[in-house]
């Protein structure tokens, strides 16, 4: 069967036309995103100027004019010339001090062991697909603090005692912030529940406690812990400075944590509570099994934000003479052997980078967990 085709109908497909030049490719992207209007073009050039103005000096300081090696063992001398950038050999040489503080170098394996155990326990807690989450949680929150304490402080199994004044560096920053968060979460939950309570005295006490701590700056709390705390203790007892600082931080953070948890509690519809009591659950069980798990899931980002703030705030203990990371960096910079024009800035850049890595990592992790945990609450 052959069709007689009209001669004006094509027998072959026409060659496809190229796409319009201004909708694809780099040029089109730039036109849409960078030069879409006169104002935008000006902004783009301003942005480029800003990048040139910041990135080139930063590159010169961090890499171009930086000192990376010290083959002759000159120490501070190697960085003592005009126009020197960052002095990375300083960081290299004092790296152990920044991480471990004044901890005796023969005993550093104890800190490393503590870190390794901590990381092994944290992996099942943080990575969703790894099994043994429950076991790891019990070990991490119930057993690990004691193991870590005895590893750090010693005094058992023939380990030498290392007094807390020798603790320092990043280790101490991590210790303070971990104790702070682990201890302030349960306290915060109790305070938040107390604030929701119908009993006027309990509610009043919790509100007063929370608002008082939230109103004052952390630095005054630390001053108070260092100056006033000994006055209020029985005569003769003189608690460790670090312990006093940690108590101050825990009380301070628990007030913030209470507000975060309260936000979560208020987000739970009252129907949940009613349904639980219709099932015959007691008040305690309703709170522990129905309300709290949902509330805490809601506020994971808030808890992580509090933790990030706490992690940054640990730097304030340097003001009462504790050698956490920032103070260790400052102390190393005032060492005579390491005096050079950029000693302070090199140290600050290093410390800033370490803090940034931790905080940025945590905030990204929290976003990831939020996405994973949201079970249809968000559209």
């Amino acid at each position: 069967m052959s069709h007689s085709q009209p001669s004006y109908v094509r027998t072959q497909m026409a060659e496809p036309l190229p796409p319009p030049g201004n909708t694809t490719g780099v040029v089109a992207w730039m036109r849409a995103n960078l030069f879409s209007s006169i104002g935008n073009t000006i902004l783009t050039f301003l942005g480029i100027a800003l990048i040139i103005w910041t990135v080139i000096p930063a590159y010169g300081f961090l890499i171009g004019n930086a000192v990376f090696t010290d083959p002759e063992g000159l120490r501070g001398e190697a960085c003592r010339f005009e126009g020197v950038g960052a002095c990375w050999i300083f960081i290299q040489a004092r790296f152990n001090f920044f991480i471990y503080g004044f901890y005796p170098s023969d005993e550093i394996w104890r800190i490393n062991l503590m870190f390794i155990i901590g990381i092994i326990l944290l992996i099942p807690l943080l990575v969703p697909k790894v099994p043994f989450t429950r076991v790891a949680a019990i070990l991490f929150f119930g057993v690990y603090p004691f193991v870590a304490y005895f590893l750090m402080y010693g005094g058992v199994f023939g380990l030498d005692v290392v007094p807390t004044r020798n603790w320092g560096g990043l280790t101490l920053t991590l210790i303070i912030s971990l104790i702070g968060i682990i201890a302030s979460l349960p306290l915060g939950i109790l305070l938040a529940l107390g604030r929701q309570s119908k009993l006027p005295i309990i509610k009043g006490f919790c509100v007063a406690f929370i608002e008082l701590w939230r109103a004052v700056p952390l630095i005054t709390v630390l001053f108070m812990a260092s100056v006033m705390f000994p006055l209020f203790m029985p005569q003769g007892t003189n608690p460790d400075v670090l312990l006093r600082a940690i108590i101050g931080i825990v009380l301070f953070e628990s007030a913030y944590m209470a507000e975060v948890v309260r936000g979560g509690l208020q987000a739970i519809p009252s129907g949940q509570r009613e349904a639980a009591s219709a099932l015959g659950l007691s008040k305690l069980k309703t709170t522990a099994l129905i309300v709290m798990p949902q509330a805490l899931k809601h506020v994971i980002p808030g808890i992580v934000n509090t933790f990030i703030a706490l992690f940054k705030d640990t730097t304030l203990v340097s003001i009462i003479g504790i050698f956490e990371l920032l103070n260790a960096v400052r102390a190393a910079g005032s060492d005579i052997a390491w005096q050079f024009p950029t000693d302070a800035v090199t140290g600050y850049v290093f410390a800033g980078f370490v803090f940034w890595i931790f905080c940025f990592g945590m905030s990204r992790y929290s976003i990831y967990m939020e996405d994973r945990l949201h079970t249809g609450h968000r559209r």
Partner: protein, 401 residues
């Protein structure tokens, strides 16, 4: 008969016999609260008795009478006249004023920078958007104290010496010793000018209200901005020329080895303000971005369907709704900034914590009283902020069906 009515009223037949006191919520509540109250009272009593013994052993007296004693030390930067003969009360006031000064300057600058960066994060321009995001992520994730140390180091070391000072516009000068600003100098007649100006501003605001009411009544546009400027400027300028108010600026000038004249901002204050502004602006930017993004896009579309032009759409529809979301967290950032100004103690700026909780405690030994007074100041700031927030929240609360 009475028995029957009781049963009819449907009250549960609870008496001491068939319901255990243990399961009675009221009784439980009383027990819990009593336990807490006794615990707190005992704790306070224990702490107080310890403190009394310790203070007695140290031979220190207590009370607030030390506030009238001579402090005997000097303060580097003070808005009030202050010298070695001033009292502890003066120290307290100077500290509060310096804290407030940092807070006010910091809040104004951080708001401006924060709004610019927050809006830049929503810019259609790829480069600007990414730069703003980078700024926020870098600044938010580094401790404020570290940033303050950094800025203070720069203010002391990276700025030029006196002879190579940066000459800024309007005669201001920046060098290692501080920022020298021109200072307004005039006499009492300047107060008259200021009074006229304030009255004119109030008048302009009232006029604007009236104008807007009329616009709403008649549904036609009326000029607002230019007449307002006229109402403010014309009387001020007339008074300025009639009263011949002498207005002059004391400009910092290089004499010998240092600049004299003008208002000297010490490097500590500059570093503290820059650090606080740069840090807080990152948080404010996030608040602004979240607030603007939270306004449903349908609102913009509805506004354009009503025929509002671009600027009105933003001014009358988007911004009022965004502000409702932005203002509460913004006030808490302001409070944070005020509290963070206490970190000035670490870079030797004489704000409240530094001069009062630091130096004054060391000099007078009255730790308990001084800590109490200091905390009272911050508590007051916090209460004022939360009062404002409650007032604002009730004012802008959505009226729902």
């Amino acid at each position: 008969m009475t028995d029957v009515t009781d049963k009819r009223s449907g009250k549960p037949a609870r008496s001491g016999i068939d319901a255990s006191l243990f399961y009675n919520p009221t009784a439980r509540g009383i027990v819990y609260q009593g336990a807490l109250l006794i615990g707190v009272v005992m704790l306070i009593w224990w702490l107080q008795s310890n403190a009394a013994t310790n203070l007695a052993a140290l031979g220190r007296s207590t009370g607030f009478n030390f506030l009238n004693q001579t402090a005997g030390f000097n303060i580097g930067f003070s808005l009030l006249p202050f010298d070695r003969t001033s009292t502890y009360l003066d120290v307290y006031l100077v500290g509060i004023l310096n804290t407030l000064l940092v807070a006010v300057i910091g809040i104004i600058l951080a708001t401006m920078l924060g709004f610019v960066i927050g809006i830049a994060r929503l810019s259609p321009n790829f480069l600007i958007r990414k730069l703003a995001a980078a700024y926020v992520e870098i600044m938010r994730n580094m401790p404020l104290l570290l940033q303050l140390f950094f800025w203070y180091f720069l203010a002391l070391n990276a700025l030029p010496g006196v002879r190579q000072s940066y000459e800024l516009p309007l005669g201001a000068v920046l060098n290692q010793r501080g920022l020298y600003l021109p200072l307004l100098q005039s006499d009492d007649r300047f107060l008259i000018l200021l009074g006229v100006f304030v009255v004119a501003v109030i008048g302009a605001i009232l006029w604007r209200r009236r104008q807007i009411r009329k616009m709403e009544e008649k549904g036609e546009r009326r000029p607002v901005l230019l007449p307002m400027l006229g109402i403010i400027l014309i009387p001020t300028i007339i008074v300025y020329f009639i009263a011949q108010v002498p207005v002059a600026f004391s400009v910092p000038e290089l004499t010998g080895f240092n600049y004299t004249g003008g208002f000297v901002v010490p490097p500590e204050l500059t570093a503290l303000v820059v650090g606080l502004v740069v840090y807080t602006a990152a948080f404010i930017a996030e608040i602004v971005r979240a607030g603007i993004q939270a306004v449903n896009y349908g609102q913009v579309e509805a506004a354009s369907a009503l025929g509002l032009k671009d600027s009105d759409r933003l001014r009358l529809v988007v911004i009022p709704q965004a502000l409702r979301i932005i203002i509460p967290p913004l006030t808490s950032q302001y409070l944070n900034l005020t509290k963070n100004s206490s970190l000035g103690a670490a870079i030797a700026f004489p704000e409240l914590v530094n001069v009062f909780m630091g130096t004054a405690i060391n000099q007078s030994g009255r730790a308990v009283e001084i800590v109490g007074l200091t905390m009272a100041v911050y508590l007051t700031f916090s209460l004022i902020t939360s009062l404002f927030m409650n007032w604002y929240n009730s004012r802008v609360a959505l009226v729902e069906r």
